[in-house]
């Protein structure tokens, strides 16, 4: 556990920032929270709308079991209390994107209670820089539709495709103290949601967005008045909002002003927040229990199924990578930060172990290094993501196996990998076809060494005179002469021998 030392240096002294996040995460489900309508992203307007979503007269909501299940699994993944009895409330307000005139949500009795998320503040040193952020609650609620203002000169259009889509609102405690902590929390939460499979975490598609609550105070004093910046849709923007909003508040306070409790909007183009509405003109939502729905009661069998279906979660996975696979804390953190990466890595391990007939632990380090440096480097260059990688885990494992059994050197492996990326051919075939198999034929290497030493008699003399750094030169020249195909260890030995001779 680390104490944040992030401070804003105001004209009158230091200020501490206090941050809480309310994250809206769209539940991964084929159907909406209370209707059977589909939830596909990017569909034509008003094609994913049932009679219930359009709030036609006499239509009634029926809870979708899968949405409830995903919320419960998410709660379990953050070690939260699962409330076996919860209830839906109506939040009443008028807006054209809200057909019912109310949103069905859970104010009084949320489905998930207190939980926690551990964040890593310094990825280079993950062990020594963790902090636990409390989660206050998770509740499920309906999303609203969308107004389209650009379709007609004088009218707005309404698209109800999102109307009724299930959201989880994940409310943190005000436990974060810096933009970095807020960013780390949001990233970690997204990682967990993706592991669990309860939300795809695609912030650019609006599947996940955050309301950022910020206040400032003198270190150690009581909480200040907070503002809430709505619908921030990237980790970077959340950090920018915290930074901007904290500084704005400090400026206001130091100028003798007061912070007004209000809702603000973030403008990414100008990197600033501006007031949307203050507490005084806030809606009176007239929350009350939805009389169309019975309380939600979860039985033990349902909870057990939710628990059994949870995958290994990032923290547990990271610990296993360090303890059982012998990976560095840094590599383990990087590999587990994203469910897809971890899945890819584990497929690579499994294939490697199979091909090399070794344990996963024995192939782990080389696999991790290759994935994080060679593969990531290549994908970066190509502008592709892991799931678009032209080389799959099995192909990667074949390549690594060739290095491990001494068939090719690491240097040749890089060339082979390039060819794999370009042509899609597999490593054994490339090595075979291009004759890249490295040689341990001491006769050939000895001959090469002898020629290098003979051609560079002056350098040999210098070496013998004490300039030992030239050793690498001889090795390099020999390798070059062997077109990279010589076993480096053998080359080392023979160069040493030659120089000693």
């Amino acid at each position: 556990m680390t104490e944040s030392t992030y401070r804003i240096q105001g004209a009158t002294g230091e200020w501490e920032v206090v941050i809480g996040l309310e994250v809206h995460a769209q539940v991964t489900s084929n159907a909406k929270l209370f209707s059977g309508a589909a939830t596909a992203f990017g569909a034509e307007p008003n094609t994913q709308v049932s009679l219930v979503d359009a709030a036609m007269p006499g239509m009634l909501p029926v809870p979708n079991r899968e949405c409830i299940r995903q919320a419960v699994r998410t709660g379990m993944a953050i070690d939260a209390q699962i409330n076996k009895w919860s209830r839906f409330d109506r939040k009443n307000y008028f807006y054209a994107d809200l057909p019912q005139g109310y949103q069905i949500s859970q104010l009084y009795h949320p489905i998930v209670g207190e939980g926690q998320i551990e964040i890593v503040l310094d990825e280079k040193n993950p062990e020594a820089s963790t902090k636990v952020i409390g989660v206050e609650r998770i509740h499920v609620e309906q999303d609203a539709g969308k107004l389209m203002h650009d379709q007609h000169p004088t009218s707005s259009y309404v698209d109800l495709n999102r109307s009724g889509v299930a959201l989880m609102e994940i409310v943190s405690k005000p436990d974060m103290r810096s933009p970095a902590e807020a960013g780390a929390y949001l990233s970690k939460l997204r990682t967990i949601l993706r592991y669990v499979g309860s939300c795809d975490g695609n912030m650019d598609q609006g599947s996940m967005r955050a309301d950022v609550n910020v206040s400032v105070r003198r270190p150690g004093e009581a909480f200040g008045t907070r503002t809430e910046t709505k619908n921030v849709n990237s980790v970077r923007f959340v950090m920018a909002v915290v930074e901007h909003e904290a500084n704005r508040q400090v400026d206001v306070l130091e100028a003798g002003g007061k912070i007004v409790q209000e809702t603000r909007l973030y403008d990414p183009d100008r990197n600033e927040t501006r007031s949307m509405r203050s507490k005084e003109d806030a809606h009176d939502y007239r929350y009350f229990p939805d009389p169309d729905l019975l309380p939600l009661e979860l039985d033990d069998a349902f909870l057990e199924e939710c628990r059994q279906s949870l995958p290994e979660l990032p923290d547990a996975k990271r610990a296993r990578y360090v303890n059982d696979l012998g990976l560095s804390a840094y590599n383990a953190t990087t590999l587990t930060a994203d469910a897809d990466t971890a899945r890819w890595f584990e497929a690579l391990l499994a294939q490697g172990a199979r091909i090399q007939k070794k344990s996963e632990g024995e192939v782990a380090k080389a696999s991790a290094n290759w994935l994080l440096s060679e593969l990531y480097g290549a994908l970066n260059r190509l502008g592709k993501s892991l799931d678009e990688s032209p080389v799959g885990p099995e192909e990667g494992a074949e390549l690594l196996a060739l290095v491990a059994d001494g068939t090719i050197s690491g240097t040749i492996a890089k060339q082979v990998f390039e060819i794999m990326l370009e042509t899609g051919a597999r490593a054994p075939a490339i090595v075979e076809e291009k004759g890249l198999k490295q040689t341990s034929d001491t006769g050939a290497i000895e001959a090469a060494v002898a020629k290098v030493l003979a051609d560079n008699a002056d350098k040999v003399a210098q070496y013998k005179g004490g300039k030992e750094a030239l050793f690498g030169f001889f090795v390099g020249q020999t390798m070059k002469a062997m077109q990279g195909k010589a076993n480096p260890q053998v080359v080392n030995e023979l160069v040493k021998k030659g120089l000693a001779g």
């Binding site: 036609m56 007269p57 008028f94 054209a96 019912q100 009389p291």
Partner: protein, 529 residues
């Protein structure tokens, strides 16, 4: 009026004690008017070949057409009634199996969404709204072979007790005050009760043998009492609410209205049943209520709640109640006094909870997607809402939306809504305790007989008091039935209410049958329309 003449020999309906107008010289009864038949008689007569379904539909269609003065229908659908009748006749001719209501035309309260037929909830707000879907309950009725005579008028959004809040005008009761000691003998138009006033008026006037109603605080039972017919509100959750325009979700419940207990049992069996589209629907099998009808009440104990006899209770109502007690004793029941101590809080509790839910349920009528839209020049969204809702809703609906909005608002929520829910729990507890001592309760249905239209319209509180005896069972979701008991001194029907334990509609129906048999209520309004 065309009358279907048909000769019938020993047909099944004769055994059910129906009196027909005259005997033919050879002793065969001559049926003069099919519209005098009950649902059971139509069903049985049709099956027995005494008449065709088309003859029945035509007879009722004719009565509907001739009764415009009652204003019972918002939309008439004679073609639908004929279509169902022809299908029934065809099925019968082909020897196909017949639905429980094959050959029976009915009226549909215009709160039920009907596919392809305008559904308005008697509000300007929904004028011209034609659903693309069929409510679960109406769908079940059509599937059982019933035909639709039309959409029945009601109080706007089912809010009212006299049918005076309909945008489509008052429904008028077929009953008039007689020139007797108690009656002024005037021709004042009387209230058919509400909110299911179109249903009650149409049944009493023989425009349909039965109709659907909905009951939120008495909207089936009070109009039944006002018009001398019977109607049952089943246990909350028996009938799906899917496709019924919502008033107050935790209270709304559909039920049948008809002239006999048996007819109610027949319809209720068809209307009930689990619906996965309504989360509050009961996932239980539907009992065979009709087959198990019995007016033998031996072994049953009837509770008489003393709080239902306040000082100043109408003497004729009080006397009828006493007669009712004697009838149930005569049927074999024990009678005990019970106490429902929180009864006096039921009405105020209801008038917090029902408007609270209504204020939210009616938020969807905003002019954006369907129904009325009032868009003044240059209006923004808020202006459109205000104009649409101002023009679309009638005064009583507005009053309840405002009450409901107020009781849910910040700072008042606990004092009103939360408190009302607590009282509701106490009222439920009252019934639980009472039902430890008895199997059913007998009370009056309404505190008075029908009143003249306009008489109470200016005083909402006086109007709300009409529901004083019906509201408690609604708050607790209990089955309750209204049954006619006799006429008052003005010649107007007054009735009794039987309240049962949750899910025990059978006992409610049976006790009502015992009353029906003993009350011998055969009075019917003289035709003036």
């Amino acid at each position: 009026m065309p009358s279907a003449l048909s000769l019938s020999k020993g047909c099944t309906f004769l055994q059910e004690g129906l009196g027909f107008d005259r005997l033919s010289p050879n002793g065969v009864r001559i049926l003069t008017d099919l519209t005098d038949l009950t649902v059971a008689e139509i069903r049985n007569g049709f099956r027995g070949g005494d008449f065709s379904a088309r003859e029945v539909a035509e007879a009722f269609n004719a009565n509907v057409t001739a009764a415009k003065a009652l204003n019972a229908f918002i939309v008439e659908t004679p073609e639908k009634a004929l279509e169902a009748a022809d299908a029934a006749d065809k099925a019968k001719a082909a020897g196909d199996s017949l639905g429980a209501l094959a050959g029976v035309p009915i009226g549909m309260k215009d709160l039920f969404c009907t596919q392809g037929v305008q559904t308005t909830a008697a509000s300007h707000m929904l004028e011209g709204f034609v659903p693309t879907y069929e409510s679960t309950v109406s769908g079940k009725l059509w599937a059982a072979g019933a035909g639709m005579l039309g959409k029945l008028n009601l109080d706007q959004f089912a809010m009212g007790s006299s049918n005076e809040t309909s945008y489509y005008g008052n429904v008028i009761s077929p009953w008039r005050r007689a020139k007797t000691d108690g009656g002024r003998g005037d021709n004042a138009a009387l209230a058919p009760g509400g909110s299911s006033g179109g249903s009650s008026s149409a049944i009493a006037a023989r425009l349909c043998p039965a109709a659907t109603g909905t009951d939120t605080g008495g909207s089936i039972r009070q109009p039944a009492a006002f018009t001398g017919i019977s109607g049952i509100k089943p246990t909350y959750g028996r009938c799906s609410r899917w496709g019924i325009v919502a008033f107050a979700s935790s209270l709304d419940q559909a039920g049948p209205m008809a002239r006999t207990v048996r007819d109610n049992a027949i319809l209720l069996e068809v209307m009930s049943g689990f619906d996965p589209k309504d989360s509050t629907s009961l996932d239980l099998p539907v009992p065979q209520w009709e087959a198990n009808l019995s007016s033998d009440l031996k072994g049953k104990t009837v509770g008489i709640p003393k709080e239902y006899r306040p000082d100043g209770l109408n003497a004729e109502i009080s006397a009828l109640w006493d007669r009712g007690i004697e009838w149930l004793k005569d049927a074999g029941a024990q009678v005990v006094e019970v106490s429902l101590p929180h009864t006096k809080y039921a009405l105020p509790t209801y008038y917090i909870i029902a408007p609270a839910e209504a204020s939210s349920n009616l938020a969807r009528y905003d002019g954006v997607r369907y129904g009325q839209r009032d868009l003044p020049d240059g209006a923004g969204l808020q202006d459109m809402y205000a104009a649409t809702r101002a023009a679309g809703f009638g005064p009583e609906v507005k009053r309840r939306i405002m009450i409901g909005t107020y009781v849910l608002s910040a700072g008042f929520y606990d004092a009103y809504y939360t408190q009302a829910q607590k009282v509701r729990a106490l009222i439920a507890r009252d019934f639980e305790l009472a039902f430890e001592k008895c199997d059913l309760l007998l009370t009056p249905t309404a505190p008075s007989a029908s009143f003249a239209l306009g008489e109470k319209q200016a005083d909402p509180l006086a109007m709300y008091l009409n529901d004083v005896f019906t509201v408690p069972a609604s708050l607790v979701g209990l089955p309750a039935m209204a049954i006619p008991g006799g006429l008052d001194s003005a010649g107007l029907p007054i009735g009794l209410q039987v309240i049962g334990k949750a899910l025990d509609e059978q006992t409610v129906l049976n006790a009502s049958l015992a009353i029906e048999e003993r009350a011998g209520f055969t009075a019917r309004p003289d035709k003036w329309w």
